[in-house]
């Protein structure tokens, strides 16, 4: 498998970057991170109307652009660079991949066009209180009542649940796991925002008590499909992490060139220069890891992709965290202030390393795949 971006890919990247430079400024990020909703509806609308990237991975028949993992990874890398605030990862990645991989025809036709147009925001609720990103840990109960279903239980760390119109909920029915569609405002549904370490990504706790739901994953067991969705989410998050790491490297390098101490730029000191060099190595490796996973995803959903996804999430999590931590250190006291953006990347890096499984878990799963 070769990693090769086309001219169109480069154009997509440039278009998204230019858009985000205008729309996702640091001032906007700070405004949204203090807000309840955590996103700017006008920007959201333009992601659909101007850039057509809300439906990037949605087939054309459902109103999307018909692209796939590589294109999503490009967008996410750019969003990661600027800590974009908004339910893109929730709706355009998690929800779309869940629907595409698990949803029945009716659900696809009903929901996907609205995700592509941005009229509906959707997310996936999978992990529960024990925080293990693992389909075996799902305890949410689904009960069939004639043709209708009801859900009981709680989901934790639901990404952008606070603004989702529809929440896709993984739950346990009598004959195995299923994926269910729930309206956030349905009877018996309570969605509370959590105070997050990383203010730039909102999380919620979802409690359901006898809440009406619609099954969308057909009659079979959705376990394997959900596992794929988890791996896909990990791979896409890795791309976002690359963008964050790259930005930290750039901030550090820029500061090291201009900050003078002892009469010379601090970047002329090997202590700082070599830190930057190591960050560069790790960022390039992270890039390789994330691109590899994205190209593998667009090539299939087999063993090669699963391995690439584990490797990417494990490596990119550590690389981003390290870059974000070094960025604070290189900025010295200033890097430690609330006013400077370094801490925003640091908190994003820490939280992203946990979401969808931390490096230890992914290394273990990879080891199992490799038969170590």
């Amino acid at each position: 498998m070769e990693i090769a971006f086309t001219h169109e890919h480069e154009e997509l990247r440039q278009t998204v970057r230019r858009f985000l430079e205008r729309e996702a400024t640091e001032a906007m990020v700070r405004h949204l991170m203090e807000s309840q909703k955590g996103y700017e509806p006008r920007t959201w609308e333009r992601l659909a109307s101007e850039l057509s990237i809300l439906g990037l991975a949605i087939p054309e028949q459902f109103g999307g652009a018909g692209f796939g993992a590589v294109e999503l990874a490009i967008v996410l890398e750019e969003m990661g660079r600027v800590l974009f605030c908004g339910p893109y990862f929730a709706s355009a990645v998690l929800a779309v991949s869940s629907l595409m991989h698990l949803g029945d025809d009716s659900a696809k036709a009903r929901i996907l066009p609205h995700l592509a147009s941005g009229k509906t925001i959707c997310t996936l609720a999978l992990v529960e209180h024990n925080g293990r990103w693992d389909v075996g840990s799902i305890a949410m109960k689904a009960t069939q009542d004639g043709n209708a279903w009801r859900l009981d239980g709680a989901k934790d760390y639901v990404i952008d649940g606070q603004v989702a119109d529809i929440i896709l909920v993984a739950a346990k029915a009598a004959n195995g796991l299923g994926l269910f569609e729930v309206e956030r405002t349905a009877n018996g549904s309570r969605c509370e925002p959590l105070p997050t370490l990383d203010l730039t990504r909102k999380l919620s706790k979802l409690t359901l008590s006898g809440t009406p739901a619609r099954i969308i994953s057909g009659s079979g067991d959705a376990a394997r499909g959900l596992e794929y969705v988890l791996a896909f989410a990990a791979a896409m998050l890795a791309a976002e992490q690359v963008g964050g790491a790259q930005r930290c490297l750039e901030m550090s390098t820029e500061y090291a060139k201009t900050r003078l101490q002892f009469g010379r730029p601090i970047g002329s000191f090997q202590a700082i220069k070599h830190k930057c060099a190591d960050m560069l190595v790790e960022t390039e490796f992270a890039r390789s890891a994330a691109y590899n996973a994205a190209f593998a995803a667009s090539a299939g959903d087999g063993k090669e992709f699963i391995e690439a996804a584990h490797a990417a999430k494990a490596y990119c999590s550590e690389a981003f965290f390290h870059a974000a931590a070094e960025n604070i250190q290189i900025h010295g006291g200033m890097g430690f202030t609330w006013e400077h953006p370094a801490h925003l990347y640091f908190k994003r890096a820490r939280s992203s390393s946990i979401l969808f499984g931390d490096p230890l878990e992914h290394r273990q799963k990879l080891a199992s795949q490799l038969g170590l």
């Binding site: 992990v127 024990n130 925080g131 293990r132 934790d156 760390y157 959590l194 105070p195 997050t196 370490l197 990383d198 203010l199 999380l203 201009t258 900050r259 003078l260 101490q261 002892f262 009469g263 010379r264 000191f269 202590a271 700082i272 931590a325 604070i328 250190q329 010295g332 006291g333 200033m334 890097g335 430690f336 202030t337 609330w338 006013e339 801490h343 640091f346 820490r350 939280s351 946990i354 979401l355 931390d358 230890l360 878990e361 273990q364």
Partner: protein, 409 residues
């Protein structure tokens, strides 16, 4: 010096006499500590008349012990006036004028006057001696303008220890003077500086044409760096001596506690083993930090200060970061949540919070450990050059007038 013969018994008797005159359980802080000062029991190694008895600093422990036997109310110097007592008093004693010694030391000890330190500047972090705050002499006054940063307690301080550039035409270490700044002077503006935790432990201090009487200088004009060294030495000692003092105490104790109260089934058996190895490693390093600090104290006592002290500051900063990272990994998904949310408070001491919330706070706060009081990079230079005797870098900022040294805006 005359009183070197004071015995432990004698010292305990003096504490008894103090307590007969004023008992901390019955009178207020200022009154009691004022009396303690007058009896020479504030800092026993200071000369008589300045709160001491001129005896070995080790004897202070006897005073503390005797007080703790008879009093419920025990005052903590660090909580009362950390910078004034830890750094201000020794500096005043060594470099202050008679007026300063007579009028300031007692109020430092009682806590009537809180002190702060005004050295760091936005453009002079690791390179403190590169500072740009200007002091110009006009008649009986100095006029000072500039900006200071990382100033703990500035918002409640009466006095600030201010280092400013009085002569930009000489090499940087030779052009500074050391002033005692009345923090209520016109032109002094204190603004809170919020950190990664949301809190404002520190301040920025803006100085605009602040007038300082000429007799508020410590040491001579141009000798400010020498005086600052006295202040900084006392800072390093304070920081280097930190860390747990008993096996399994302090941060590592908190980490182990977190681990032992994890929920069942939170981790797979494999994850448990991997985390356990990390904790075991952190335990060993914490122990070695503790023992190394203990060896440093013993060596100092024996008059053979070795490298152990300077080692501790660097090691602790780096260890602390890794330790709280491990704590976050133990918290797992719960570390995504920052309860009860970021605040904008000014912390004095940590309030009682849940163990988890405290760990998350420490995780963020620890990032500053390798920056404050000397970055880890500067500490490695110090270890390399002063302890191991390795040569310094070629320098372009040593023998040229300060004003000709390139500096950040």
């Amino acid at each position: 010096m005359a009183k070197a013969e004071i015995s432990e018994q004698d010292l305990r008797a003096r504490v008894q006499k103090l307590l007969e005159e004023a008992h901390p359980d019955n009178v207020d802080q200022f009154t009691f500590r004022g009396k303690q000062y007058d009896h020479g029991l504030a800092w026993v190694h200071f000369p008589e008349g300045y709160g001491g008895l001129g005896i070995s600093p080790g004897m202070q422990a006897v005073v503390t012990d005797e007080l703790s036997r008879h009093c419920k109310t025990m005052y903590d110097d660090m909580a009362i006036n950390a910078i004034g007592i830890g750094m201000g008093a020794p500096t005043v004693l060594t470099h202050g004028t008679d007026w300063m010694r007579d009028n300031l030391l007692r109020r430092i000890f009682t806590g009537e006057d809180i002190w702060c330190q005004l050295f760091s500047e936005p453009s002079a972090g690791s390179d403190v001696a590169g500072l740009a705050t200007r002091a110009a002499r006009t008649g009986d006054y100095w006029t000072v303008s500039g900006q200071k940063v990382w100033t703990s307690l500035a918002h409640v301080s009466s006095w600030g220890m201010l280092l400013a550039r009085s002569n930009p035409d000489v090499p940087k270490h030779l052009g500074m003077s050391y002033f005692l700044l009345d923090m209520h002077s016109p032109g002094v503006e204190v603004r809170p500086l919020h950190q990664i935790t949301g809190e404002a432990e520190f301040n920025e201090v803006f100085l605009t044409d602040v007038k300082i009487p000429a007799d508020r200088i410590m040491g001579r004009e141009g000798e400010g760096w020498k005086v600052a060294i006295t202040t900084l030495m006392n800072e390093r000692t304070a920081i280097g001596g930190a860390g747990s003092t008993r096996p399994g105490g302090g941060a590592i104790g908190a980490l182990i506690h977190l681990w032992q109260s994890r929920e069942k089934g939170q981790f797979s058996p494999e994850m448990e083993i991997l985390l356990r190895d990390r904790i075991s490693k952190l335990y060993i390093e914490s122990e070695m930090l503790r023992i190394t600090s203990q060896r440093a104290r013993a060596a100092r006592k024996a008059g053979n200060p070795g490298p152990e002290g300077s080692v501790a500051k660097l090691a602790q900063a780096e260890l602390n970061k890794r330790l709280w990272e491990c704590a976050m990994d133990i918290l797992g998904a719960d570390s995504l949540v920052y309860e009860p949310g970021y605040t904008r408070r000014r912390p004095t001491s940590r309030t009682r919070e849940s163990r988890n919330a405290l760990a998350k706070y420490q995780f963020l706060r620890a990032r500053a450990n390798s920056i404050e009081g000397g970055t880890s990079e500067v500490m490695r230079n110090i270890l390399g050059e002063r302890v191991l005797g390795l040569p310094g870098e070629p320098r372009g900022d040593k023998d040229v007038p300060w004003k000709n040294i390139p500096r950040s805006a």
